[in-house]
Amino acid sequence: MKFSVNGKTVFADETLAGKRLVDFLREDLGLTGTKNACDIGACGACTILINDEPMKICTRRLAEVEGAEILTIEGMARTDGTLHPLQEAFISAGAVQCGFCTPGMILTAHAFLLRHPNPTRDQIRRALYGNLCRCTGYQQIVDAVESVIPYYQEHALRSHSFNS
């Protein structure tokens, strides 16, 4: 099986076809930014982007994403360490506390802004409805997403373009 993860081509043995995608990323590729928290797709901590679509992957098998382009939180920043403006926005808005929901939250927001570069605050809240956070009350998360709208308006982007 073959797919692209954070811009790199990855091959996986057919015997792994039934493995949970979240476990493959975490165990086989060492991409532990994608979290396990409910195992039933209820909380969004395992959200990644598959062909620019946000997906909760704790219930997905590896075979389901063959050939796909995958973006995880580890692929958001440039390889030189420059943070994506959305990551910067999470920092300056104080949107991070324990940080366990943060990767899924950032990727969900990223996918949303790619499709809707001019959202209202209410649309942002709606987009993040499936991602749970127990620390922040979401307010600074929504602030962060709102603050980065100009960047997405300027750059009609695909998920990987920040890195390429």
């Binding site: 991409l31 209820a42 920092i91």
Partner: protein, 761 residues
């Protein structure tokens, strides 16, 4: 100095937005084994045997542990040692763990767990504290002699006389529910048997020292043989103490017996099933008031469901008892509190720690009283609330800090335009489909542990030869940003940039036992210790370099990255440090902050319960749909006096997050029990607040530096989470005319409202 204000910076935030932060489950070790807990279907039963032979034959299984394998004590606890690492004599609740399966993979362990068999004689289930207290009730812990875990009381003045002096007596019963912490990260532990005989533990827990005590007791080894290493924590909220510590102890035992690293990661189902919850309370409350609105007496009985084990029920209920009248001066009080064993899930510490329940009661009682008297509830509060030099119901004079009750109340009233909007409240009248209401609640809260326990904290500052600094404090980073707060305070004290300071994740083998990071004590206690360490370090540096600067040590100051004398001479901080090293002196300091003395007389329930207090007020606007009963929150405002904001963005986050959690408590959170078995064991059925459940929130920070706190800062984590439920209850009453005496607040017709998911689609 205002150098503390920063925009969102945290020492750990880059790692958290890039996925680089390593939580416990993200750690991998060669030769790692995986372990899983095994539960039974029982709720209350006497164990005859636990059969593991069949499970042991399953592929990949390395070892199965039961109570028989515990070399030390199988029973642990912070107050009463009744908490079982493995069920031994009885099953006392459905979350009791009968065995742990250790295998080459987590899947193999889970598969084998199905073949562990329990042979047990079912016993009658005691699920209501009233039944547990009835004569002849089955005992949960036979050797304890009764189902009463503990009692507390307050006796002030003469409650009977106070009631006689009242013109009106109001009497009501209130009830609250079991609540799950729902930290996003479940319990995880990794234990590594080191070559030197020490077991090293990385764990998702918020009390490293308690974890060490439990683990050492379990293994029957000295404390020094266990090292708990701090790891980023995916939320705690008070919930990662006892249960999380026991999970670590089981991993340690597995590591000891197999000689290999062992990881236990809890599935959400197990976490909700086994971990302790916030106590459900039943409160009978009588309040006497005069026609002019003065409270003359309070008489209340509080019964807390402690579940199957003691945990910290005596401490939780103590705070409820001390704060049973809310922030009001009452001369005649009789309060009797009982913590009760049942076969329900264990209850223990949760953000608020006995205050959310009592505030739900008291903040509705004051509104009920005002309404009865035909008086404004705000005026009633102002008349009775604590003011400067007031004496609390336990006889403590509030004269060591600014009593900011009126200040926070006024701030909220003004911000939300309360009095004007209250006139628009529909009170169930009219014909509009959306009924409108506004409500508020306020509290004061004793800071830190108070008379619950010994309260002191350490910090170590270790300046390196190049002037860079390593800091470690005895408080734990639970996700709230405590490490960053400690760094910012030290940077300010030493007059150096924050980015020259590295926080060393604490290890129980380095920092002295500073207690647990609960009770909103992180900033005040940890910050106090950091300030003391900084003061000590500055004295050391000053003694060393004073002569170089042609001054005396007392004349040396620290600012702008330099060490200065009043005569204008100065050296850079790093030059001063280099000078010390070259003269055989270490720029190293241990700082200790000891909480000021508190007192308590358990018999009378009188004393200086807490060394200082914080003050908070929150208000909310909402609508209630006349047909569906659906409650929609429109706006929320909070004001908190926290002494001093060390990290403004994080302070705001604590307030918003506290309100969000409290909104869940008010409207949709409830651990449901089906005859003693928890029915909603994942985040699809246990509903925490989501984005669309929450209104826009406004937080007002009020700073009255506290003289007894070396940093001036006090507490916030819990105050932010203890008054939104009564504010909502009051607003719902102002909207509908209907008062809710139990949580969560739900109109019966609301079952007809479509589920959120359907609304979404």
């Amino acid at each position: 100095m205002s150098g503390l204000t920063n925009s969102g910076w945290r020492n750990d935030v880059r790692a958290k937005v890039t996925g680089a932060a390593k939580f416990t489950d993200d750690l991998h070790f060669a030769d790692l084994l995986h372990a899983v807990p095994v539960y039974s279907d029982e709720v209350h039963a006497r164990i005859r045997s636990i059969e593991t032979a069949e499970a042991e034959r399953c592929p990949g299984v390395v070892r199965i542990l039961t109570a028989r394998d515990v070399p030390g004590s199988n029973r642990v606890g912070q107050i009463i040692r009744d908490y079982r690492i493995f069920a031994d004599d009885k099953i006392r609740y459905n979350g009791d763990v009968i065995a742990v399966v250790v295998a080459e993979s987590r899947e193999a362990a889970m598969q084998a767990a199905k073949y562990v068999r329990l042979d047990a004689e079912p016993l009658p289930r005691v699920l209501d504290p009233a039944d547990a207290l009835a004569p002849g009730a089955p005992l949960i812990h036979e050797q304890h002699g009764s189902n009463v875990i503990n009692t507390h009381r307050v006796r002030r003045g003469d409650a009977e006389r106070g009631m006689r002096e009242a013109d009106v007596i109001l009497e009501h019963d209130f009830q609250t529910q079991f609540v799950e912490h729902a930290y996003m990260e479940t319990e995880v532990a990794v234990a590594i048997p080191r070559g030197d005989g020490v077991i090293e533990i990385y764990g998702s827990m918020q009390h490293p020292f308690s974890t060490r005590r439990f683990t050492a007791a379990c293994l029957g080894v000295p404390l020094a043989d266990i090292e708990i290493v701090g790891t980023p924590l995916g939320g705690g909220f008070g919930g990662k103490d006892d249960t999380a510590a026991v999970v670590c102890a089981r991993a340690a035992l597995a590591a000891r017996l197999t000689g290999r690293p062992v990881k236990i990661r809890y599935a959400r189902d197990w976490s909700i099933r086994e971990s302790y919850k916030r106590h459900p309370y039943k409160v009978h409350y009588a309040m006497g008031v005069t026609r002019s609105g003065k409270i003359t007496a309070v008489r209340c009985t509080i019964v807390a469901d402690g579940g199957a084990y003691c945990s910290v029920t005596p401490w939780v209920t103590w705070r409820s008892t001390v704060q049973c009248c809310g922030p009001y001066v009452v001369g005649n009080v009789q309060c009797d509190t009982t913590g009760v064993y049942t076969n329900n899930v264990v209850t223990g510490a949760m953000r608020g720690f006995g205050s959310p329940q009592m505030n739900f009661v008291v903040e509705q009682m004051v509104e009920l009283a005002a309404e009865k008297l035909g008086m404004s509830a705000v005026a009633f509060r102002k008349l009775n609330m604590v003011k400067q030099n007031s004496v609390t119901i336990t006889g403590q004079k509030l004269d060591t800090h600014t009593v900011a009750m009126g200040q926070v109340l006024d701030a909220v009233l003004k911000e939300i335009d309360y009095e004007t909007k209250l006139k628009r409240a529909t009170r169930g009248e009219g014909t509009e489909e959306e009924m409108y209401g506004i409500g508020l609640a306020m509290s004061y809260r004793g800071v830190s542990l108070g008379a619950e326990g010994v309260d002191f904290c350490a910090a170590i500052v270790n300046v390196q030869a190049d002037g860079s600094v390593i800091l470690e404090a005895g408080v734990h980073e639970n996700g709230q940003g405590s490490e960053t707060a400690m760094i910012l305070l030290l940077a300010e004290e030493l007059g150096i940039p924050a980015d020259t300071i590295r926080y060393r994740r604490s290890s129980t083998s380095v920092i002295p036992d500073s207690g647990t990071t609960v009770a909103s004590r992180g900033t005040i206690m940890g910050g106090g210790a950091v300030c003391q360490a900084a003061a000590e370090l500055k004295r050391t540096i000053a003694r060393s370099v004073a002569e170089q600067l042609s001054t005396v040590p007392e004349g040396v100051t620290f600012s702008g990255g330099r060490v200065r004398a009043a005569n204008g001479e100065s050296v850079s901080f790093s030059e001063a440090i280099a000078y010390m090293y070259s003269h055989q002196q270490f720029p190293y300091a241990l700082g200790v902050y000891r909480a000021p003395q508190v007192t308590w007389d358990e018999h009378t329930g009188q004393g200086k319960a807490y060394f200082t207090w914080v003050y908070g007020c929150q208000a909310v606007e909402l609508t209630v749909n006349r047909t569906t009963g659906k409650i929609r929150l429109l706006n929320a405002v909070a004001a908190h006096d926290i002494g001093r904001a060390v990290n403004r963005e994080m302070v705001l986050g604590q307030i918003y997050g506290g309100m969000a959690m409290s909104i869940g408590y008010a409207l949709h959170e409830e651990v449901k029990s089906d005859n003693g078995i928890i029915a909603n064991r994942n985040l699809n059925t246990y509903r925490i607040s989501r984005t669309l459940d929450l209104p826009p929130m406004k937080a007002i920070i009020i700073e009255n530096h506290d003289p007894v706190s070396p940093s001036g800062a006090k507490s916030l984590g819990e105050p932010a989470n203890e008054i939104m439920a009564p504010a909502i209850a009051n607003a719902v009453c102002n909207a509908t005319g209907r008062r809710f005496y139990s949580l969560p607040i739900r109109f019966p017709v609301q079952t007809k409202v479509p589920r959120r998911e359907e609304v979404q689609a």
